[in-house]
């Protein structure tokens, strides 16, 4: 596309931006009753805090139960190498 065509399109976009009116997609802008505004307010808080709460709850649960959850994580490997899962490896004294 030529430079002139790009400039024409940018001018067209800028002109379209100047043509804005009331955004009909915004329910609060058009039907501005108090109950609707409150519903938007509370659902926004609800939908913002819910995923954060779930993530924090999940991390808290993991921090409390990680030991039990991952207890058998390396059982197969330890079976092969002969290392007991819950005991730390013993240090061999230097000769």
């Amino acid at each position: 596309m030529s430079r002139a065509a790009w400039i024409t399109r940018l001018w067209a976009l800028a002109a379209a931006c100047l043509w804005t009116g009331v955004a009909n997609a915004c329910a609060v802008c058009v039907t501005a009753n108090e109950r609707s505004r409150l519903a938007f307010f509370f659902t926004t808080i609800f939908l913002t805090l819910l995923p954060l709460g779930l993530i924090i709850g999940g991390l808290y649960w993991l921090s409390r139960n990680a030991h039990d959850v991952f207890a058998g994580e390396f059982a197969d490997r330890d079976e092969v190498t002969g290392t007991p899962t819950d005991e730390p490896p013993t240090e061999t004294p230097h000769a």
Partner: protein, 172 residues
């Protein structure tokens, strides 16, 4: 399973939020729409009790499974399955009555939201009942793995716990 339930929680949160906004945007006295049938609050309350009791039965089954193995948990999984199937069956009868009275997916905003939200939950409940039935069969044949039992229980708890919120928002 936990990640899947996370996404499901957000799905229902979106549904509930959309419904709350649609309800509050209706003019005063216009919700529920006057020409549409009323939702059966009392009968659904009985269904709700059945579903909650099935959740309790599965909690007990989980504890028994930890202490005494599959044999100890088996009757409670059976009870949870029976109560869950009762919930699904009664909801089906309720839907049939509402459709006969004229509440459909396209009859009003209430109908659209009702069948979308409660229908999505019903779909989850049906899948969960099937999963419970398979779990119960696996328990009886001695093929149950602890991981699958935990996953099914988590899913059923989600189906049970999201329902009171839906009942409160959609029916009351």
């Amino acid at each position: 399973m936990a990640l899947f339930i996370f996404t499901e929680v957000m799905l229902f949160a979106g549904f509930i939020s959309a419904f709350a906004i649609a309800k509050s945007s209706a003019p005063l006295g216009a919700w529920p729409p006057p020409d549409q049938p009323r939702l059966p609050i009392e009968r659904t309350a009985i269904n709700t009790v059945a579903l909650l009791l099935s959740g309790v039965a599965l909690v007990i089954a989980g504890r028994r499974h930890k202490q005494g193995g599959a044999g100890a948990a088996n009757p409670f999984v059976g009870l949870a399955l029976l109560l869950g199937a009762t919930f699904v069956g009664l909801q089906g009868l309720e839907w049939r009555a509402l459709l006969a009275q004229g509440l459909t997916l396209t009859s009003s905003q209430l109908g659209s939201f009702f069948f979308m939200i409660i229908g999505t939950h019903a779909l989850h409940a049906i899948v969960a009942v099937f999963a419970l039935a398979l779990t119960w069969r696996a328990m009886n044949t001695g093929k149950l793995t602890p991981g699958s039992f935990t996953a099914v229980r988590l899913f059923w708890y989600f189906v049970v716990l999201v329902w009171p919120l839906l009942y409160w928002q959609v029916y009351l």
